[in-house]
Amino acid sequence: MSTPPTEPEEAADTEMIASLSARLEAAAQARLGRSLAIRHVNTGSCNGCELELRALSNVFYDLERFGLRFVESPRQADVLLVTGPLTRNLKAALEQAWDATPDPKWVIAVGDCAVDGGVFKGSYAVLGGTGLSVPVDLTISGCPPQPNRILSGLRALLEANAA
């Protein structure tokens, strides 16, 4: 049996490897690393913000084209998206969700109620905004905020994350 005429192995150019992997890393960060998994946490919402969050998945907004998606568990999440005034009965649930979310993580307070308690400020049953319980990175006001406002907030976080 004759040996195939393949050329003998030569050591790859280490300089070229270094330069290629640097370029790949930069491109991947910008092109592939732009994805956020969002866990929605309701802390007492009237369901208005939820209606607009659901609208984000319709064909007009289609948030998955930006690499944004809702997930079922805080353990899979990069972002906790909080809606509703922080009721006393849901404070523990929010804190458990925050503890269960791996670092690095972000918290977005969506809607006037999550920002500061909204119209429910001062009730015996309501503490106020999300920030009273967990650190908030971004707030999006509105009652409820329109889907395009929520979307631009999420995209801003995406850009900041990629930068």
Binding site: C46, G48, F60, T87, N89, Y124, A125
Partner: protein, 511 residues
């Protein structure tokens, strides 16, 4: 399941004197009906009569001195409000005869501290042991109650228990559902709500109807128009005022627009859960088209705060009618395709026979709306109780099977009927003002509206232009107990689909 829990002698000093009403049952004015203020014995007797005559308990609530109940008398086409004074911090429970009263009794005990003597379930409901004080609606502050054991601790050893929520699913309202399982079959289902309790009754008290309307609008956002209309109509009736004809007609347009939007959202969600992508895409697109039309017609996608006591917040915008009619035409065109997709094998086989609610279980729950009509209960408050619909009565869609497929068929039928109503109302929009100021007088009234989930009732007592007491009855009070009994014969994997099929709400009944 009811484990004894004695609240002790709570609030004995808050009970008023009976005021010589014993045996006389004087009729108070509770517009448009008379409220009979009964002795404790007559109150209990009324419950027995109601159970015997299958009258439906619509609502049960309290204020600083009394407990109230609202019954539906189907034969007389009337709502019958009754009340009795709370004496020694207690009143006779309705729940032994009318199980639908149980959740209301737990709510009344939590907010006011009144003990329902003989109640079938004395456990707390809204109070999760986190408030700064117990009985927040009572005249005197009490120290907070500790948290409590909701469930039988031994149950976990005997059966597998699946706990869902309050943070669960993708984007949902906060509620906790506890399923006891035998393999894949559900043996028991119990819901725990109250997580989103925001103290709405306390926030409404002492405000003018105009200022309190924003809380009515935020009880449940997908019924924001329905709750706002029932609240505004109650305030207007209590103060002997009426919204102008143009406002009445605009309210009809908003209510039917909301119904279509919520039904489309539900069709899209059921489609998503059943992996029927074409349904969820189509219904999601049509819903968005309608919300954009609402934005241009009324200035808000969900029409929140657009209905106010005395009329509507603003007239329909220039070009708004055209935008709504174009959206309605899109939906009408899509409806044929939606029907075809629901008759197809994928959805029909997934939804057929699932989550059956009919017969005596349905009747006892008092559930109306889609859940009631899909099971043959032809109750809709629009023709009988909403004067704005008297000139344009809706055709009520009814099905018999009571399963998830029947509920979707009713939803689709109602979309078609709402399209017709919107077209008719826009065609004949009377000229004139859209709001009138309300007088600063006193009065008591009950009014209702048919939301996408069923009948909503608001009771109000206004004292010199300020709300003295209020209670909004969301359809959730009837839907959750109904869903619990339906889930008890279901499979665990179907629980999410059944929950969505009933469109179970949380915020509206969490108050």
């Amino acid at each position: 399941m009811a484990r004894g829990r004695d609240y002790g002698a709570i609030m004995t000093d808050s009970a008023p004197t009976a005021g010589g009403t014993i045996g006389a049952s004087p009729a108070e004015t509770c517009k448009p009906w008379h409220r009979h203020d009964l002795t404790a014995a007559d109150w209990a007797a009324t419950a027995r009569d109601a159970a015997a005559q299958s009258r439906v308990l619509l609502a049960h609530w309290a204020d600083a001195s009394r407990v109230y109940a609202l019954f539906l008398d189907i034969d007389a086409n009337a709502a019958v409000p009754i009340s009795t004074a709370v004496e020694g911090g207690a009143y006779p429970a309705l729940s032994p005869l009318l199980p639908a009263a149980a959740l209301y009794e737990r709510m009344i005990a939590d907010l006011f501290g009144y003990r329902a003597d003989g109640a079938i379930d004395p456990r707390p409901w809204l109070d999760h042991g986190t408030w700064p004080g117990a009985f927040p609606m009572a005249p005197r502050a009490s120290p907070p109650r500790p948290d409590f054991d909701r469930f039988d601790p031994g149950e976990q050893d005997r059966h597998m228990v699946l706990s869902i929520g309050p943070v669960a699913g993708l984007i949902e309202e906060a509620a906790h559902l506890r399923l006891t399982l035998d393999g894949p079959a559900i043996l028991g289902a119990e819901a725990v709500l109250g997580f989103t309790h925001k103290g709405t009754l306390g926030l409404m008290r002492g405000k003018s109807p105009r200022n309190a309307a924003r809380f009515a609008a935020r009880l449940s956002a997908d019924s924001t128009v329905a709750h706002s209309i029932a609240f505004a109509a109650a305030a207007e009736a209590a103060l002997d005022a009426a919204a102008p004809p143009r406002a009445q007609r605009l309210r009809v347009i908003m209510l039917e627009t909301e119904r279509i939007a919520v039904h489309l959202d539900n069709l899209a969600e059921i489609g998503r859960l059943a992996a029927a992508r074409s349904v969820s895409t189509l219904c999601g697109r049509l819903r968005e088209t309608l919300l954009r039309a609402s934005q241009s017609a009324f200035g808000h996608r969900l029409m929140m705060d657009c209905v106010v006591p005395g009329g509507v917040g603003a007239d329909i915008a220039d070009g708004g009618a055209g935008a709504l009619l174009r959206a309605c035409a899109d939906i009408a065109a899509g409806l044929t395709e939606i029907r075809r997709l629901h008759d197809g094998t994928a959805l029909a086989s997934r939804l057929g026979g699932l989550g059956v609610a009919s017969g005596t279980v349905l009747a006892a729950s008092g559930a109306g709306g889609v859940a009631g009509r899909a099971g043959g209960r032809a109750f809709d408050v629009r023709p009988a109780f909403m004067p704005a619909f008297s000139q344009m009565p809706p055709a009520v869609t009814i099905a018999a099977a009571g399963d998830a497929a029947a509920r979707q068929a009713v939803r689709i039928g109602e979309i078609g009927e709402s399209l017709r109503l919107i077209g008719g109302a826009l065609d004949a929009l009377p000229a004139g003002p859209v709001a009138l100021p309300l007088p600063q007088t006193s009065g008591e009234a009950i009014a209702c509206a048919e939301s996408s989930r069923g009948d909503i009732w608001h009771w109000l007592r206004i004292d010199h232009g300020q709300i003295a007491a209020a209670f909004p009855r969301d359809p959730g009070w009837a839907l959750w107990p109904l869903a619990e009994s339906v889930l008890k014969t279901a499979m665990a994997e179907d629980a999410g689909m059944i929950r969505t099929s009933f469109a179970l709400p949380a915020s509206g009944m969490d108050l």
